[in-house]
């Protein structure tokens, strides 16, 4: 099943809106990726690293206490938080860095929001022996200090970006500017299923391992495909990765949850599928948060990984055609979900993932008993502990106050 309507396009979305300097590199990447995809040894190598190093397949875990507490569908968790480095991002960076090596590239650059993609890129670079530079909004450098340390420990250079909103979108601008200057020997590892063609397709293909595993695991665990799958949406890589293999399965409800921030009316959110309009950002035409004059608006989310005013073009297409249902969760709802999951399942989910959990209850009840809901656990919350604990921790369970 593909939603690619013509090369590089998902319906109206996608394309390659970049400076001419980058076009030859994108053509080269497209060709190299097509060659690698057609070469069984490349797929085998990626699969081997995912198994030996990343720890795939990640488990599909029954969430028994959540199921009971929500009183609806059976809830299961696809555990990308258990992948090495703690999030789904590593699936893509292993693939892209191996591809860059095949292409003979000498160095790697990347952008990062939450730092997960930066850590995953630094990790793959350490594993395969390439120098790595990561652009990160200065605000995110402050709120994701653990991941900044991890990247540095892994040997990467972290470059704080002071322009604009000092978050993910600005980090991506800066990475693109750097790439324009060093395009001959540098590969830019984009972390989400966004950016100019062929990135949305490449990232989706590498992340689709999540959904492919889930198919097999669901059939084994409950004898059928899930009735619904829910994932959080920043740029959309974990969502497209888990959902893509099910696009053709009309009975499987696909649900994406965006950052509602301080609320959709507040103007401070990251809900580009819900409130965005058609525009061009970071090389592709998609849905973006912008004003009437075409200036990109600053997104807001408590989770750095969802703090992005754009979204990958394939998700925009799935949302506009109605194949994917789109919901939002506010900062507060995500925080509440974080503690709920921590205290009922013994899992500290990433704040990004907590957005998906925040909409889980309604969806589970909506589906009803006997149905199966899978929540994509895109990552673990260790990186978020400073942000979360700064707001105070609720009293311990079972202790009278």
């Amino acid at each position: 099943m593909t939603t690619e309507t013509t090369v590089g396009r998902f319906g109206r979305y996608g394309g390659r809106y970049v400076p001419e300097t980058l076009v030859p590199a994108l053509l080269e990447l497209e060709e190299a990726y097509a060659k690698a995809s057609a070469d069984p040894s490349f797929g085998e190598e990626v699969a081997r690293v995912l198994k030996e190093f990343v720890g795939r397949p990640t488990t599909l875990t029954p969430a028994r206490r959540l199921t009971e507490s929500w009183g609806g569908a059976h809830v299961w968790l696809k555990r990308e938080d258990l992948a090495h480095t703690g999030a789904h991002k590593i699936n893509n960076t292993v693939g892209q860095v191996l591809l860059a090596k095949r292409m003979g590239k000498k160095r790697i650059i990347a952008e990062t929001g939450a730092g997960q993609h930066g850590v995953a890129t630094a990790t793959a670079c350490a594993l395969f022996g390439l120098p790595c530079e990561v652009y990160m909004g200065a605000l995110d450098v402050e709120r994701q200090s653990l991941n900044v340390f991890r990247m540095r420990a892994l040997g990467a250079v972290v470059r704080p970006v002071e322009s604009g909103s000092r978050t993910l979108k600005d980090a991506m601008n800066e990475a693109m500017r750097t790439w324009v200057s060093q395009v001959a020997d540098t590969h830019y590892v984009i972390g989400s299923a966004a950016g100019p063609h062929p990135y949305p397709s490449i990232v989706r293909d590498f992340q689709a391992v999540i959904g492919k595993e889930l198919r097999t695991q669901a059939l084994a665990a409950f004898g059928k495909l899930p009735d619904a799958i829910i994932a959080c949406v920043g740029g959309g890589s974990n969502a497209i990765g888990v959902l893509h293999p099910f696009i053709g399965d009309k009975d499987v409800r696909l649900v994406g949850v965006e950052a509602g921030g301080h609320g959709l009316d507040s103007g401070q959110h990251g809900a580009s599928l819900t409130l965005g309009t058609e525009g061009v950002l970071h090389g592709s035409r998609s849905l973006v948060l912008q004003d009437a004059d075409g200036q990109i608006q600053e997104a807001h989310s408590i989770s750095a990984g969802l703090d992005y005013p754009g979204v990958g073009p394939e998700l925009a297409h799935l949302a506009k055609t109605g194949r994917m249902e789109v919901r939002t969760a506010t900062d507060d709802e995500a925080l509440a979900a974080f503690y709920e999951v921590a205290r009922t399942e013994g899992i500290l989910p990433a704040l990004e993932t907590s957005h998906a959990f925040a909409r889980g209850r309604e969806l589970a009840r909506d589906l009803g008993k006997g149905k199966y809901l899978v929540i994509n656990c895109s990552g673990r919350g260790d990186k978020d502990v400073a942000t979360i604990s700064a707001r105070g921790v609720p009293p311990p369970v079972g202790v009278k106050s």
Partner: protein
Amino acid sequence: MSGEIAQTFAKAKARGEGVLVAYAMAGDPDLPRSVDVFAALVEGGADIIEIGVAFSDPIADGPVIQGASERALKAGSTLKRVLDEVVPEVRRRCPQTPLVIMTYVNVIMAMGEERFAKLARERGVSGAILPDLPPEESEGLRATFDAAGVDLIPLCAPSTSQARAQGIASNARGFVYCVAVSGVTGMRAELPADLSQRLDVVRKASPVPVVAGFGISTEEQARTLSAHADGVVVGSALVRAAHADGPGAAKALCADIKRGLKR
């Protein structure tokens, strides 16, 4: 219309000099005072004015123009206001100078491509440069602009293959903008060694004039390049001069560079 740009190149050639395309940011430091900057560029000898329209996420620009963008946005610059308040004033003060808008594709899309083309033409804009619109994505827009009489000026880069460069040149309107350096806008002490050769190749294939831009800021660089190009674009150096020392400084720099373009 393309006529104006072509005439400007023809006249410069007849005078034995290369064309100076001078860039500044509309709305930096504010809308009215940016008009003074544009007028100063023309007084200094600029032949074509590139009017930058700020975008929040200028991926093709280096720190100097990024800074100008931020100031312009703070001053309330929008494409609509530039067309309403800046372009007509520059036109009035510099009636002989072709005006070209430089901005990013999202800004044009937000206004509506047809609406932009029509308004731009009405206000006296001859062309547009959109650094994030490569040839693969530009067909529809070029047709819209053609219909309105606005030239969509294409860019060519150091990484562009010869065959691709020839394709870009043969479909060009106005002139071909040859990006001199692999990178973003901003002054460079040294230009790439193979630049002259690349310019010669594009010029051979191009039915329209060829200019070099990105990185150029001195009389000396202009002199070297004027043997291989029909003109040069100077942006960051002028923006910096105007921002630091006012329109007079930008005018003086234009005059210097223009001296380098005399053959």
